[in-house]
Amino acid sequence: MSVDGRLRATALLLPMALLGHTLQLLGEDTPWAPHAWARYWRTPGWHLYLPPWSIVAIAVALIVSALGLAIRRTRPWVAAVIVTYVAHYLTYPYRIRNHMTLMLASLVAVAIAWVIGARLREGGRRLIDLRGRGAAPRLVDRYAVRGVAAVLCVTYFYAGLHKTNEGFLAFDERSAAFRGTTDFWIWGDLGSVAPTWAIALATYGTLVVEYAFPIVALFVPRLTIPCVIGLMCFHFPHVAVMNVADYPMLASAFYPSLFTAARWRLLERELYAPSRWNVAGAAIGMGAQLWWMPWWGELTIFGIGVMAIWGWWIGSMLRLYATAAARPKGARMAAEVAVR
């Protein structure tokens, strides 16, 4: 698939992200319902210039591509997902969700690097071909990963920017932080009213996380792991009680791009080998979702899977820290220098 482990990890997580996308669209837009058909025709967009069967065909092609990628993680399947997703986005006949533009921009970033790499030659060989071979596959994929990281930073920054308003900072029903924290408190059996400190933490914490964490994770490698854990903790209430597990899952599919290649190589060893840490993390993640989820719905059930993945991931990251902390100090410093 790629010589770059971060891109391999993203390809591994993409089918799960696309499952969340599908569940949300099917669950909310219910395209089989009669009112959805009426809505199709009164929604402006390019789908009105195309026969309806072609819109369905594009959606089916995307699902097939995602399944193909889930079964065989190869570049042609990633390319198929990119092409079909772009077509799907541009012809989707209902509301374009926030996660859809993040997904579109991230996939286009990968496509841009791959296309530029495929058009340049070195000694008669392309820099990269559709099989991931070529004169400089590592260079090309590094830029693809950088592009994805830039998309993540811009996306989260704007999420924070939009929330810097009187409504979000109001500490009352107008604020999603207030409502979300209250729901989190109630469904977690923590009490019937969220304490002020929790609402303040959710309100100002949201701004700090969205403005800063992806950027700090990207530019301060020493803080990448704490920031990624922070992002996952920040998103947990969204997955657990706000019924929007699709967006956090989709965003997290691109979190590997926030790591340096060297740090990801270290983490990869932990991620792909079961340990007490990551198995316990997955169990805690699933347990937390089961404890908090307010009802059995398609996205809350999906959230169990999301929390299992994140728990595994967090457990692996913590084990990396624990292993490093257990080393003698001199070896720790040598390891730190090695991953810079």
């Binding site: 541009l90 340049l120 950088r146 592009g147 811009v154 929330k163 308003n165």
Partner: protein, 174 residues
């Protein structure tokens, strides 16, 4: 170093440098486009998919509730028509699809997004009908009427370059 190996090294450096330059430019352009897309709510150009989920951000023609970003409406894409009443003048009876479109135009107490209204009227016009329309601009007290909405681009010509929905198609009348 021989002349041929120097040449090989030079080719390698030049193609990789070309890649770096082009990738930086293209990815920079992508990030800029994404930033512009996400800023569209402040210009009245888009509400869907600008990362404003759960933001409690509210905007209107005169301003918004943001602490420091001003509101500067640049189009009517965000607007809605009030008190819309449509009548189709046609030589033949309307089919089910056309009746659906007409029913949507004639909803009680709904504000219809301008672009969605254009998309719907354009479909009726494309099918050879004439649409008589009464509608009220949100900033005006009295309604406007037209005997042939198909002849008024503001009412019947959706922006063909916009690929997807930008705003909710309709909402409660204010």
């Amino acid at each position: 170093m021989s002349a041929s190996s120097r040449a090989t090294t030079s080719v390698r450096a030049s193609s990789r440098e070309a890649f770096r330059l082009r990738a930086r430019l293209a990815l920079g352009a992508l990030a800029t486009l994404l930033a512009i897309n996400n800023a569209l709510p402040y210009f009245g150009l888009r509400d869907d998919s600008c990362q404003a989920m759960f933001s409690s951000l509210h905007w209107e023609a005169g301003g918004n509730n943001h602490l420091f970003v001003p509101q500067n409406m640049r189009s009517d894409l965000w607007r809605g028509w009030n008190d819309v009443r449509a009548e189709v003048v046609s030589a033949r009876p309307l089919d089910a699809h056309e009746q659906d479109l007409l029913r949507w135009l004639n909803q009680e107490n709904r504000q219809l997004n301008t672009e969605a209204t254009r998309a719907v009227i354009a479909q009726l016009c494309d099918r050879g009908h004439r649409v008589k329309l009464r509608y009220r601009h949100p900033d005006e007290a009295t309604s406007r009427t037209t005997g042939d909405a198909c002849a008024v681009p503001e009412l019947s010509e959706p922006h063909a370059w916009i690929p997807v929905r930008l705003y909710e198609t309709d909402g409660p009348s204010p």
